[in-house]
Amino acid sequence: MSFEPKIVGFLCNWCSYAGADLAGTSRIHYPPNLRVIRVMCSARIDPTFVLRALAGGADGVLICGCHPGDCHYSEGNYKAMRRYPLLKQVLAQYGVEDARVRLEWVSASEGQRFADVVTDMTEKIHALGPSRIRAHLQLDKVER
C-alpha cells in the first residue's frame, strides 16, 4: 500500500478552526490526511504536544493561528510565533525535516487558504516519506 502520511493539526478556535469549517461549507476539497485538534488559541499549544504527536507516529504537525494582529486574545499568536523557532531548533537536532512541522496563519474567512496549506503540506510530506523519528529514538522498543 502506498504511503499515506498522518498529519496532526492544532487549530485555534477563533480563526483557523473557523477557516477549516469554511473550507467545508464552501466544499473546497483537500487531502484527508489531516486530523484536527481544536485549541482555544495557538498560545495554548505546548511544544510538547508537537513532540508527543511526532513520537506517537505523526508524519507531520500543522499549527494554525490567527494572522498577526488579529488574535482573538490580542497577542496569543505572537507567543506561538516565539515558541515555534525554538521548537524547530530542537526538532532539527533530532533530524526532523523542516517541512514536517509548520506554523501557518489562517483567518476565519480563508477557507481556500486552509485547503491550500493542507494540500501543499500533504504533498511535501508525501515526498519526504514516513517520519523516521520513532525508529531513530527506538520508541517502538520503549514501554509507553
Partner: protein, 575 residues
C-alpha cells in the same frame, strides 16, 4: 476511577455525511472502543428525536459521557450540551467530532474519509474520558447595543431596541442616514416612494432620546465578550488619536453595513464609461429622483433598453442572483412609460426572477404596458454599438434572442445596466474587528443559514440585511427586527452564562516564578505575595491557555482543554 460509560452518536446529516462516510463502519468500530457502552447512527442527531435518543440512553443505560460525531462544534455544540443538561448530565461531559465541515464536505474518497472519521471519533472517545463536570459563570448583560450602519436595516433594528427602552448607539460612516435606500426613487412592486419609507424612520431616530446617532463615524475597536463589550468609535479616517475617539459599553452588536453596487466599468463589452448614454441603475435612479429622464446631450430618449444581471449570475463576476434587480427593472418600465408615454422600452433578461409577494402580478402589469421582453443566454451577452446617423437612434443592441432563436437588433438612446449587489470592499476589516466570518464572495456568514440567520458564530454579534447577502426591503426589515428581538431577549434575561472554560493554578505546584503574570493579555493572573503563589481571576480570564503552555512547573490547568485531554486526543487520532 470507575470504568466510564460512553455513548457515541454518529450523525448521517441526511446524506451530508453518509454519502461520503460509511457511518455503519464507524459505528461498529466505535462500539469496540474501551469505555463505550453504546454506539448508534441516526439521520439527524440535532433533530428532536436525535436529541431524545441521547437523553433516553443516558437515563436507561446510565451513560456518564457522550460523544457526538456530526457537524462542527461551532454549529451544534450548544444543542447537544442542552441535551445532556436535560438528561441530568453535566454539559461538559460532551465531546464532538467534526465529521462534516472537516471531513465529508471536503473529501470524496469513501475509504479515506471513513478512516479519518474513525480516527476523529476514537480521539473524541479517548478525550471525553478525561472530561470533568464544570459549572458555568454568570455575568451581567449590559442593556446597551451598538448598531453599525444607518441604512434601512440599521434604522429599523435601532428603533426596535430603543422603543423597548434601551440605549442604542447608531454608527454611520456617511454624513447622513438612509444608506443605499436613500439613493432610490420608487420601490417595487407597489411603487411606494423610498423617501417616504425612510423619512418616517429617520425622524423618529432623531427624536428618540434613547438613540445616539454618530454620523461620519466608524467602529475602531471592539473588546470584551457577549454582554460586556467595549466599543471604541471614532471619525472615519480619523487620525487615530484617542482624543477623537469615544468608548462605550454595549452588550451586543448588530452589523447592518449593507452592500455596494457592482462596478459596471469592470465589464468592457457594454461600453460603460465609453458610450455616454450607457448608465447604471443607480445613475438612472438619480435621474428619476430629479424628475428628468434625458440623455447626456439633454435629449428625451425615445428608445430605452434595460439590461439585467450586470455582474450577477456570471462565471466571470458574481455567480449569485442579486435578487432585487429584476423587479427594479420592471419598476423602471413603469416609471419611464408614465414620464415618457411615447417611448419604447425593451427589457433584456436572462431569467425573470419574480419570487416575492406581488412580484408576479407586477411582471404581468409590466407586460401589459407594452414592454419588449427579450431573453438572452447566460453566455451570450448583448452587444452594444454606436448607431449610424441614418438609424435614427444613438445605439444599436444586437441580442441572440433565446425564445425566437433569432439574432435581433434593437435601437436604443439610453441603456440602463442593472448592476448587482456585492459585499462592501472593507467588509473584511469589520469582520476582523467584530470576529465574524465571510464567505468567498465577502458576505458575512450567519450561524445557521436556515435556522439562525441573524446570529453569527460569535455570541453577541448579529447581522441583518444585505451585509449577509442580497435582499429586498421586506426581508431586510424582517432581519433587522429579528436581530433586535434576539438582543432584547438577551437583555430581558439580564444575565449571560459564560463558558466554564478558564485557567486555574494548582497552588501546590506553583513555584511563584510569576512568568504567567506578565504573559496574560488580560492581567487575569494575580500574584498573592503572602503565599508567594500566582492565582487566576476567573472573571477576567478568557481561556486562551497561553499561561498553561508557558508554566515551567505545569501548575496551571486550562479547564476543558487540559494537557491530559489534548494528549489523549493526540493519541486517539494517531492510534
Amino acid at each position: 476511577m470507575a470504568e466510564p460509560r460512553i455513548g457515541v452518536y454518529i450523525c448521517n446529516c441526511g446524506t451530508n455525511i453518509a454519502k461520503v462516510v460509511n457511518c455503519d463502519r464507524v459505528c461498529e468500530a466505535a462500539s469496540k472502543l474501551p469505555g463505550v457502552a453504546v454506539a448508534r447512527t441516526y439521520q439527524y442527531m440535532c433533530s428532536n428525536p436525535g436529541q431524545d435518543m441521547i437523553v433516553q440512553d443516558v437515563r436507561q443505560l446510565g451513560l456518564d459521557r457522550v460523544v457526538v460525531a456530526a457537524c462542527s462544534p461551532r454549529m451544534h455544540e450548544r444543542t447537544f450540551r442542552k441535551a445532556l443538561r436535560s438528561a441530568g448530565l453535566n454539559e461538559y461531559l460532551l465531546e464532538m467530532a467534526n465529521i462534516r465541515e472537516q471531513c465529508s464536505w471536503v473529501h470524496d474518497d469513501e475509504f479515506a474519509a471513513t478512516n479519518k472519521t474513525e480516527a476523529l471519533v476514537r480521539a473524541a472517545v479517548m478525550r471525553v474520558v478525561h472530561h470533568e463536570p464544570l459549572e458555568k459563570l454568570s455575568v451581567n448583560m449590559c442593556p446597551n447595543t451598538l448598531v453599525i450602519g444607518g441604512g434601512v436595516a440599521g434604522l429599523t433594528a435601532a428603533l426596535e431596541m430603543a422603543d423597548a427602552g434601551h440605549k442604542v448607539f447608531l454608527v454611520e460612516r456617511d454624513d447622513h442616514l438612509g444608506g443605499n435606500l436613500a439613493r432610490v426613487d420608487l420601490t417595487a412592486p407597489y411603487l411606494d416612494s423610498a423617501r417616504d419609507l425612510l423619512t418616517e424612520r429617520i425622524t423618529r431616530v432623531r427624536e428618540c432620546k434613547n438613540l445616539q446617532v454618530m454620523l461620519g463615524s466608524a467602529l475602531k475597536n471592539l473588546s470584551g465578550f457577549v454582554g460586556n463589550f467595549v466599543a471604541t468609535i471614532g471619525p472615519v479616517g480619523g487620525n487615530g488619536k484617542t482624543d477623537q475617539e469615544i468608548s462605550v459599553e454595549v452588550g451586543a452588536v448588530v452589523v447592518c453595513t449593507g452592500y455596494k453596487e457592482f462596478d459596471a466599468s469592470r465589464i468592457t463589452y457594454f461600453g460603460y464609461g465609453k458610450l455616454p448614454n450607457v448608465i447604471t441603475s443607480f445613475e438612472f435612479e438619480r435621474m428619476l429622483r430629479s424628475g428628468r429622464i434625458e440623455t447626456k446631450e439633454g435629449k428625451t430618449p425615445q428608445y430605452v433598453a434595460i439590461i439585467h444581471c450586470v455582474g450577477s449570475r456570471s462565471q466571470e463576476f458574481h455567480g449569485y442572483c442579486s435578487r432585487v434587480c429584476c423587479m427594479t427593472a420592471l419598476k423602471y418600465t413603469h416609471e419611464i412609460k408614465s414620464a415618457l408615454p411615447g417611448s419604447y422600452v425593451s427589457d433584456l433578461y436572462i431569467d425573470m426572477h419574480a419570487f416575492g409577494k406581488g412580484h408576479e402580478d407586477f411582471y404581468k402589469q409590466s407586460s401589459e404596458v407594452k414592454t419588449l421582453f427579450l431573453m438572452y443566454g447566460k453566455n451570450e451577452h448583448p452587444v452594444i454599438k454606436r448607431a449610424a446617423p441614418e438609424d435614427g437612434c444613438e445605439m444599436l443592441i444586437e441580442v441572440a434572442e433565446k425564445l425566437s432563436g433569432e439574432v435581433i437588433e434593437i435601437p436604443a438612446d439610453m441603456v440602463i445596466l442593472m448592476v448587482g449587489m456585492e459585499a462592501q470592499a472593507d467588509a473584511d476589516k469589520l469582520a476582523r474587528l467584530v470576529n465574524i466570518s465571510q464567505d468567498k464572495e465577502g458576505w458575512f456568514i450567519e450561524s445557521h443559514p436556515k435556522l439562525d440567520p441573524v446570529a453569527t458564530t460569535t455570541e453577541g454579534i448579529f447581522i441583518a440585511g444585505t451585509c449577509a447577502f442580497p435582499k429586498d426591503i421586506p426581508d431586510t426589515v424582517a432581519q433587522a427586527r429579528a436581530a433586535a428581538a434576539r438582543v432584547l431577549g438577551k437583555i430581558a434575561r439580564e444575565k449571560i452564562e459564560i463558558d466554564a472554560v478558564f485557567a486555574e493554578v494548582n497552588e501546590d505546584l506553583c513555584s511563584g516564578c510569576r512568568m504567567c503574570n506578565e504573559l496574560c493579555p488580560y492581567s487575569a493572573v494575580e500574584f498573592d505575595s503572602e503565599k508567594r503563589r500566582s492565582r487566576v481571576n476567573s472573571a477576567l480570564c478568557k481561556a486562551c491557555g497561553g499561561c498553561v503552555a508557558a508554566c515551567p512547573s505545569s501548575a496551571i490547568k486550562a479547564r476543558h482543554f487540559t494537557d491530559q485531554q489534548i494528549v489523549a486526543q493526540i493519541e486517539g487520532v494517531l492510534s
